[in-house]
Amino acid sequence: MRENVVIRTVSRLAVPFIQVFALYVIVHGALGAGGGFQGGVVFASSFILMIVAFGLNSVRKRLSNKWIVVYSVLGITIYAGIGLLCLFMGGNYLEYGVIEAILGIPHLHGYLLDAVEIGIGITVMAVMTSILCDMADKGGESS
């Protein structure tokens, strides 16, 4: 890729702010506008900006193919694991109120929703990055 100092500098400045904003959107889902899907997409957009500015290999160094698959499975595992936890606590699948009633911690229902949103965000981030990495890969350019 052709060297372009402006694009690289602006991207290097913008990527951390985009990622912090994505985390804010994910965690803010219980209080206002936001949620796992939107925050995951915003987080993935920071990786897409890195692919556009620095090339595919620099992203692959930070987030390899193996870890992308691990993250996308991890998010679903968090979500389904919380559902199974409710099942083991004696309620229905994904009935968060049971855990709050048994453990007696106030607002635990909302915290479980936050954990679920984080799981959704991890999966969406990994899947979006994975799709763009696979489409940008010219085949055999990187493992």
Partner: protein, 91 residues
């Protein structure tokens, strides 16, 4: 054949426009769609769940299983693209 198709389209279109009159106005509080379940959610989301955002409460708690299915759909799409496009090497 074209005349028959035109007649069928006109017939269905006239019926549709005829029934549009009976639909409730946009944002009508007396409409059946806003009468029962929406009021129930607005009243019981905060005491049930304890978070302020009703949309998130419905999405992740009342309709939690549906959202799990949506996440699985996204995951399946990503795995499909990976299996189709990624050549050589392992997952």
């Amino acid at each position: 054949m074209k005349v028959k198709a035109l007649l069928a389209v006109l017939f269905i279109g006239i019926i549709l426009f005829w029934t549009v009159e009976d639909m409730p106005a946009f944002g009508d509080p007396e409409a059946p769609a806003t009468q029962y379940l929406g009021i129930l959610y607005i009243e019981s989301a905060l005491p049930d769940i304890g978070i302020e955002n009703i949309v998130t409460a419905i999405l992740a708690s009342y309709r939690g299983f549906d959202t799990l299915g949506e996440v699985v759909v996204i995951f399946t799409a990503g795995i499909s693209v990976t299996l189709l496009l990624r050549r050589g090497g392992r997952l």
